[in-house]
Structures are given as structure tokens and as C-alpha cells.
Amino acid sequence: MMRIIDLALKDLSQIFRDKRSLLFLVAMPVAFTFFMGFAYQSGKDSETIIDARIPLGWVNNDPDGAVSQTLFEMLSESDSVKVVELTPDAVDESIRKGEVAGALIVPVGYSEQVTAGKDAQLNLITDTNTARGQSLYQLVRTPVTQLMSALEVASLSADMVDKPNDASELNKAFASASQAWSEADSASLVQVELAVSEDDFQGDWFGDNPYNQASPGILVQFAIMGLVSSGQILVQERKTRTLQRMMSTSMRSWEIIAGHALAMFGVVFIQVALLVVFGQLVLSVDYLSNPLGTLLVSAALSMWVAAMGMLIGTIVKDDSQVILFALMAMFVFSALGGTWFPLEVSRGGFAALGKVMPSYWAMNGYQNILIRGLGLESAWMPTLALLAYALGFFVLAVWRFRKMDV
């Protein structure tokens, strides 16, 4: 045991001498956390702006139509949409310049066609790849649905009073239905509630703090980035021939790996601890609402990263390969584990794969504490999953180390 600790202490003294690398291990994730939180906050702010007034271009090629006029009034009365009248030629440029989020194009003869019960399409030109475009589509869909409903109601009603082709009757029924729709509000009959432990909690999915997502996400990602340091230890020892010398001592393979892994655990754990403290004190991310849970998840995360770093160290040949493997691991585990984007937006197989990733369990453990507001019991499963991964990677690293040509 003492040998393992001695080896770990030797590694730590080496690592702490490289001030520049150390700075990056801590300063970078701090900077990243700020920026990601900033991004999430910006996203939130823009959502608020969208909810207030989202500019919609209006191109009416049916200027004399009663139905298109009604649609224009419906949209104009909306609290969420700001209608901007455009000419057809100005649409592309207005969208490109961001003056409007999209443009609704009413085709020629639209009112006449829909009143006659024929199919006619309204075209919303918008980039549905963006949140803004998606929001706009949702905002326009409701009045269009209500408009078409009013037309159908008018048609049915005119049939029932035996005046199916009486324009005056159709118009009156259509006006009544449109008016009724403007007073209806189905959305008010549905309330959304977050499942969190605090009864008085009223926030968004970030737990009322955008850094609740950014902080653990970056923390996990950069813990994995620590693989560069851990992987490089074995490479350096092979380069300087100290590994060969160590192998000639009575130390066993697993002890060598354990010693190095212990050092790396120390480095990663210190990094994680610093980020937790930074998150708590500077960003008001309440890791300490469940200190033991945070400690368990952080320690297990550090163990897994240290073990994986050792495995990489036994596979690679030089420093550049360490960086490559570490970055690949960081990207793969971050993307799959839900540190970049929530796994709920992933599809079946990918999501299922993501949910068995150690990075997912680390995120899950932190999110249980920070966003779901759950207790210590919610940290056990993520911790055990991470420890199982740590053990698996450690065993693989020892096996690989024994096969290594030193």
C-alpha cells in the first residue's frame, strides 16, 4: 500500500510542477462554465423576447380576401407575434438580416379557394432548425387552425340552415365563429408543474439557474479532459525509461497502475472539487444542498476518469496519441452522456446507449441534486454505476499493462 502511495505522491509532485498545464486544467473549465451558462442564459433571454414579440413578415397576395384579412387581424391581435408587412421581393433579405423571424405568404385567391372548400396552403418561410423558427411555426399554427375551424363551422352551419351557397350566411357564420375563437383559450386549461422536492419551487428546466446545467456539464467534460495528464504519465515514464526500472522492482503490475491511478484520481478530484466550489460560490449552483451526494458522485467520477486515463496510457505510444485518445474520449463521452445536450432529444438507440455511459451517470447524479432537488438516495445509483466503470477500466488497464512492451 505504501508503495502505491509513494508512487502517487511522486506523480503528483511531477504534475504540480507543470504550472501551465495545471492552469488549463482549472482555468479553462471555469471559463467554459461561464460561457455555457452565458449561452443558456442568452437562450433563455431570447425565449423571453420570442414570447414577447416575434417579428413575422406578412405577404398578402390575396389583398381583397375576407379570410386573409381575418387571419391578418388574428395575428395582429396576438401578444406573441409582431406582424410586419412585406413585399414578396423583400422576404429573403428581411429573414437573412434578422428583421423578421419568418414570413407568412398568402397565395393568390386564397380566400376564394378556402371559402369554396378547396385546399389552399399558407406558406411560412422560416428556418425551423432554429428555436426562433420553431416558435414562430407554433405561434402561427394556432390562429391558422382557428381560422380553418371558423370556415368549417360556417360551412356546416350554412348547410344546417339550408343556405349552403349563400355568401351572406357564410360570412355571418364565419364572423361569429372567428369571434368565438378569439375569446377561447384552451391553453389556460393546462398547467405545467415541475417535479421537484421544494413545494415552492417555480423555475425552468435549469432549476431557475442556467448554470445548473452548464456547471456539471463542463465539470464532467473537463474531468475527462484530465485524461491528457493521466495518459501522459505512463508515456513519459516509458520515454525516460523509468517504467522499465520500476518493472525490475518487486512492485506488481496492478500496484504500478494503482499508484498512477491514485495520483490521477487526486488531480481530477481536486479539479472537480475546485469547480464545485466555484460553482457554489460564484455561480450559485447549489452543490452543497446535498454535500454528501455531491462528494460521492464527484469521487466516483474522478475514479472512473483516472482508471480510463490509465487504460489510455497503456494503449498509446506517444504524447500526441494521448491527446488524440483523450480528446476523442472527451467528445464521445460528452456527446453520448448528455453533457452537451439533453439526451431526451436523442433517438432510441442513441439515447439507450447514452444512458449506459458513465458520463451520463455523472450528469444524472449532479442533476438529481441540482435540478431535481432529490436527496442523498438519488446519488447512490450514479455513484455505483461510475464505480463499476472505474473498476472495469482499471482491470482493463492492468491487463493491458501486463501485455505492454516496455
Binding site: N123, E169, L189, E344
Partner: protein, 422 residues
């Protein structure tokens, strides 16, 4: 000629580097593929809906005097158990709110719809105080929104039925007629059928839908939003790894310095600027090859349309200038290859992050502003314009900015090198 010899030698060396090959080609394609498979499929079809795991607590009961056959809660519940949604919604019944809450807390389900006992009674009485509760896991965003939309849409259908009935009564009265109770079921059935067809067309048959969304890029043609997203994601990754590749290719100077071959090269009658120029040229070739390979690969693998040829070429050239310039500048500050890993990783990832490369498919104002001062930000601007189908004229400003940025950084880097190896 000597410049080309040095460039060729370095280029050959690069092709033997597993690391460079990995970073230049494998990593960006791997990441994009990961994200691609998380949302869509290699066939390039539209994103299918999510896998939603949800619960329903239907406590709603039909008032004794109601004309309806079943409480509204039954309709809402059956909507989530309908075979048309079973491929993306897995719904379970829960006996009460407490059981549903426990299931959400345990992350067995992400969303629970709780329909109160008097919902139908209060709805029919015009009482708007009784609401359906959608209880959601705070982590989720998309699934709860979809569930809420479905419930609201169904209630809109019910509201539409009510509106239809009221308008009919009003019009009959205005025409001096009376409603025959025997006609009521037929009337409601006609409206319900229309509404179901309308919603089906809206969500599943774009050619019949009353409202269709088209991309401004396609100018009227329907495009795959999946491909649009991936074009932006891929451009972000392409920029990031282009700068990475440029910097790591430039590391050959440090490697040769450490190995002693650079010192030997300096003893030959070759001007130092010629040596450095040869090395920079090699980096430029590497980055160009990387850019072309990635774009061709993404075109065939992911079906990404990179826009107009002229715009595409200008963007790619601008990216080359900027990445080589920044590489020269960064390498001039680094003393050893050991430092390079973390410093390159750190500097390039930070610059990439603040320029919006990792959030390239969405526009974040803060990053857009910061991007005005970084080469990555301007490259991203250029690609956004290119992917939006803009003509070459729109790309001239970003291209010139990138050439200027790249040149300034290159000159500073070259001067620092000269001083170091003087």
C-alpha cells in the same frame, strides 16, 4: 523550389502521423456522426419524434346530466394510448397523483398528465378554474411541450365543437329555425371528422396541410431540417478541427527543434524565412486537403449541401488563411511539444466556444458579438452565409477580414520565430 521541398517533406510526415489523421479526419466525422445518429439517420429523412415515456392519471368522471358519451379525460387518456402514437409514446396508467409523482421522481416516466375529477363537469359549465396538470421531470424540455401541445390541441378540438354548436344555434335563430335534436350527433360527427382530418394533414401530410413551413434557403422547396441542422453542426466542427489541424501541423517545427533536425537545417545555405515558409505552406496544404475531404465526405455521407460553388470556395479559402495564421501565432508562443497539447486544446477550444462553434446551429447573440473579434467567428459567419445560399458578393467582406486576420497573425508568428531561431 526549396520551399516546396520542405513543404512536401512535412506533408509526407503529416500523412504518417496517426494523430494528425485522427484529429483532421476521424474526430470531426466521428463527432458529427454521433450527433447525426442521435437525431436522424443516415438515410437523411426528417427527425422522427422522441421516445416519450409518460403516465396518465385520469380521475375525470362524466356528470350525470352531460350530453357526452364519455368524460373528456377519457379522450385525453386514449390519445396517448392510441396506436398512431405508440411508436414514440409509451404511456402507463397511474391510479392517483401521488403514484404519478413518485414515478416522475424515480425517473420511470418523464411526464405525467393529471386530469382532475371534475374536469368535464367544470369545462361544460364554463368554469375555467379546473385545469389539467402536466407534471414533468425538470430536466426535460421537448417531451413536456409535445404532451402539452397534444392536450391543448385536443381541447381546441373540443372548444371548436362548442363553438360550432353555438354558432349553429345562433344562425338557426337568426334564420327563424329551430334545432332538431336528432341532427346534433351528425353535426358533431361532421365537425369532429373534419378536425381529425385537419390535424392529421397538419402533422403527417405536408402536401395537404393548411400551413406548411419551408426553409428560406430552399426558396420554396421543402428541405430536410435534419440536414440543415447537420450542415451547421458540421460547419462548426469543421472550423474547429481545421484550426486544430493547422496548429498541430505547425507543431512539426517544435518537433524538429526538439529532435535537432531544425538546427541542422539552419546550417544549410537555406534562408530561415524559406524554411518557415515551406513549413507554413505544408500546413496550408494539410488544411486544404482536410477541408476538401471533410466536405466531400459530408456531402456523400450526410447529404450536406454546401451551397454555391463560389461562396463555398471563398469560405474554405478564408478558413485556410485564418487557421494557418492562427497556427503560426500560437506555435510561436509554445516552447515544447509537451506544452502544445493542453495549450492548443485550451486556446482553440476556448476560442471555438466563444465564437459559437459548438452552438453553431443556433444563434447566440453574445457569441455572435465575440465572434466579430475572433478568426473562428468570422469563418463561422462565412459558412452561415454560404449554407444560407448566399451569392459570392455576400462573402467578400468575411473573406477579406479572414485574409487580413490570417496575414496579421502569420506575420507576427513568423517574426517571433525568426527572433527565436536567430
Amino acid at each position: 523550389m526549396k520551399i516546396l521541398d520542405i513543404a512536401f517533406k512535412d506533408l509526407v510526415r503529416s500523412t504518417r502521423s496517426l494523430f494528425l489523421i485522427g484529429m483532421a479526419f476521424a474526430a470531426p466525422l466521428l463527432i458529427v456522426a454521433l450527433i447525426y445518429f442521435s437525431f436522424g439517420s443516415i438515410a437523411g429523412e426528417e427527425v422522427t419524434t422522441l421516445d416519450i415515456s409518460m403516465g396518465v392519471v385520469n380521475l375525470d368522471v362524466l356528470p350525470e346530466d352531460a350530453l357526452l358519451e364519455a368524460p373528456l379525460g377519457d379522450n385525453i387518456r386514449s390519445m396517448f394510448f392510441d396506436e398512431s402514437v405508440e411508436s414514440w409514446i409509451t404511456a402507463s396508467d397511474y391510479p392517483d397523483e401521488a403514484a404519478a409523482r413518485a414515478a416522475v421522481d424515480a425517473q420511470e416516466i418523464g411526464v405525467a398528465v393529471i386530469i382532475p375529477k371534475t374536469f368535464t363537469e367544470d369545462y361544460l359549465a364554463g368554469n375555467k378554474d379546473t385545469a389539467i396538470t402536466i407534471l414533468q421531470d425538470p430536466i426535460l424540455t421537448v417531451a413536456p411541450t409535445l404532451v402539452r401541445d397534444m392536450v391543448t390541441s385536443l381541447l381546441d378540438g373540443v372548444a371548436g365543437g362548442g363553438i360550432a354548436f353555438n354558432v349553429l344555434n345562433e344562425r338557426l335563430e337568426a334564420n327563424g329555425q329551430m334545432l332538431d335534436p336528432a341532427d346534433i350527433p351528425t353535426f358533431f360527427e361532421r365537425y369532429a371528422n373534419w378536425y381529425a382530418d385537419f390535424q392529421r394533414a397538419m402533422f403527417h401530410s405536408p402536401e395537404k396541410a393548411a400551413l406548411v413551413a419551408t426553409s428560406p434557403v430552399s426558396k420554396g422547396e421543402q428541405t430536410s431540417s435534419t440536414q440543415g441542422i447537420f450542415a451547421m453542426v458540421l460547419s462548426g466542427q469543421l472550423i474547429f478541427f481545421s484550426f486544430f489541424t493547422g496548429s498541430y501541423s505547425m507543431m512539426s517545427i517544435l518537433q524538429e527543434s526538439e529532435e535537432g533536425t531544425l538546427a541542422r537545417l539552419f546550417t544549410t545555405p537555406t534562408d530561415r524565412m524559406t524554411i518557415l515558409a515551406g513549413k507554413f505552406l505544408s500546413v496550408l496544404f494539410t488544411v486544404i486537403i482536410q477541408g476538401v475531404v471533410l466536405m466531400v465526405a459530408s456531402y456523400y455521407i450526410f447529404g450536406v449541401n454546401w451551397g454555391k460553388t463560389g461562396s463555398f470556395t471563398l469560405s474554405l479559402l478564408g478558413q485556410m488563411f485564418a487557421s494557418v495564421g492562427l497556427a503560426a501565432l500560437l506555435v510561436s508562443f509554445i516552447q515544447t511539444t509537451k506544452q502544445a497539447g493542453l495549450i492548443f486544446g485550451g486556446a482553440l477550444t476556448t476560442l471555438g466556444m466563444v465564437s459559437g462553434l459548438f452552438t453553431s446551429n443556433i444563434s447566440i447573440k453574445a457569441f455572435d458579438i465575440i465572434g466579430n473579434f475572433t478568426p473562428q467567428g468570422w469563418v463561422l459567419k462565412a459558412w452561415r452565409l454560404t449554407l444560407a445560399g448566399n451569392p459570392v458578393s455576400e462573402l467578400i467582406v468575411p473573406f477579406l477580414v479572414l485574409v487580413a486576420m490570417g496575414s496579421v497573425m502569420f506575420v507576427i508568428g513568423a517574426m517571433l520565430f525568426r527572433r527565436r531561431f536567430a
